[in-house]
């Protein structure tokens, strides 16, 4: 299991090209779809909680999932796996003293990867949404948050806090109304 975790995180790490959520499509493909190590819900919840602590999302998510799947050894295996590809490549580049990013072939390759990454992240995001957002309220909230993020440039953590607060509020309200319904019936 540890070895499988390491290898798969290595795969994810090697294909995380570009910052931010670039690791999401490949990670989802490996952890949720192929290996079925976590459910879609768990995956989304993971994405939420790891953004509340410092650190790159790509690394944080590997550590979290690794730990969830195989405890601390899992976390270590996952972390090393996901960091190793870039570590090795950087070592190679740094030691050969070439300005690789100026090589036209390499530049072209990555220029082609970038639009694909955007598309993959979009599709992964929408599919995750379809899988885990069921009620109209949730969909409306998603649109609201999207607006706040795009137009008003709200910081991600602010949105997460808002989401959490609303979640707690709504669940408490529905609890109260269930309780008073029950009271009404009992009377």
């Amino acid at each position: 299991m540890l070895w499988s975790l390491f290898i798969n995180c290595f795969k994810v790490g090697a294909l995380t090209i570009g910052g931010g959520y670039a690791m999401l499509p490949v990670m989802k493909e490996v952890f949720v779809t192929k290996k079925k190590w976590v459910s879609e819900e768990d995956f989304v919840d993971m994405m939420a909680v790891i953004q509340t602590v410092p650190g790159a999302i790509a690394v944080n998510s590997s550590i979290y999932l690794g730990r969830k799947i195989a405890g601390i050894p899992g976390a270590i295996a996952a972390t090393i796996g996901s960091v190793l590809p870039s570590f090795l490549i950087i070592l190679l580049i740094a030691s050969t003293l070439t300005s690789w990013y100026q090589n036209p072939y390499i530049a072209n390759f990555f220029a082609g990867v970038r639009p694909a990454v955007i598309a993959l992240i979009l599709v992964a995001g929408v599919k995750l949404g379809k899988g885990i957002l069921h009620s109209k309220i949730q969909i409306a909230l998603t649109l609201l948050f999207a607006l706040l993020a795009l137009v008003l440039k709200f910081h991600p953590v602010v949105l997460l806090v808002m989401g959490a607060a609303i979640g707690i509020l709504l669940s408490r309200i529905s609890e109260k109304s269930n309780a008073s319904e029950k009271k009404g019936r009992d009377q």
């Binding site: 294909l15 910052g19 931010g20 999401l24 499509p25 490949v26 493909e29 989304v44 909680v49 790891i50 953004q51 602590v53 410092p54 790159a56 999302i57 690394v59 944080n60 550590i63 976390a75 960091v83 870039s86 950087i90 070592l91 740094a94 690789w100 990013y101 390499i106 072209n108 390759f109 990555f110 082609g112 990867v113 639009p115 694909a116 990454v117 955007i118 598309a119 993959l120 992240i121 979009l122 599709v123 992964a124 995001g125 949404g129 885990i132 957002l133 909230l141 998603t142 948050f145 706040l148 795009l150 949105l159 997460l160 808002m162 989401g163 959490a164 607060a165 979640g167 709504l170 669940s171």
Partner: protein
């Protein structure tokens, strides 16, 4: 994270020049992996060779490791706490929105050439319909762009 690097490495300690740093960042942006980690690895190498890069990489990953481990521990304890669970579920619309808007806001700088539009649309359809897996789509897109550049 980059401004922090800049302040400590260039301004405070004068370990590297601004242009050295820009070179490093440009490379770190292109190689797989988060920019921050890659930059740390690279800077570490420049300053102290292999061991430097090892130390800097471990150092930049360690806070994440500690905080995530703590976080997971706390969340485990809150497994049966109703509020905590509704809070986490409440974040789902936020995360979904964040993922989609992040992609949308990066689109202008990633889709530059006409070919990019085709690659974008192709990747969109292929992955939406699940006709190819993300790994193949990513690599294929890069290869197509590479070949296109050879024409």
């Amino acid at each position: 994270m980059l401004p922090l690097f800049q302040r400590d490495i260039i301004e405070r300690n004068h370990w590297l020049t601004q242009s050295d740093f820009l070179d490093i960042v440009a490379t770190a942006e292109m190689t797989p992996g988060p920019i921050a980690i890659n930059t740390a690895t690279f800077v570490g190498y420049k300053l102290s060779g292999f061991w430097g890069s090892l130390v800097s990489t471990l150092a930049i990953v360690l806070p994440s490791f500690i905080s995530i481990t703590l976080l997971a521990f706390i969340l485990n304890k809150l497994k049966d706490n109703k509020d905590a669970q509704s809070g986490i579920k409440g974040m789902r619309p936020a995360v979904t929105a964040m993922i989609i808007t992040a992609a949308l806001s990066l689109a202008p700088q990633s889709i530059v050439r006409p070919l990019d539009i085709i690659l974008f649309a192709g990747a969109l359809i292929l992955s939406w319909k699940n006709w190819l897996n993300p790994i193949v789509i990513l690599l294929g897109s890069g290869v197509i762009s590479l070949l296109f550049g050879l024409i």
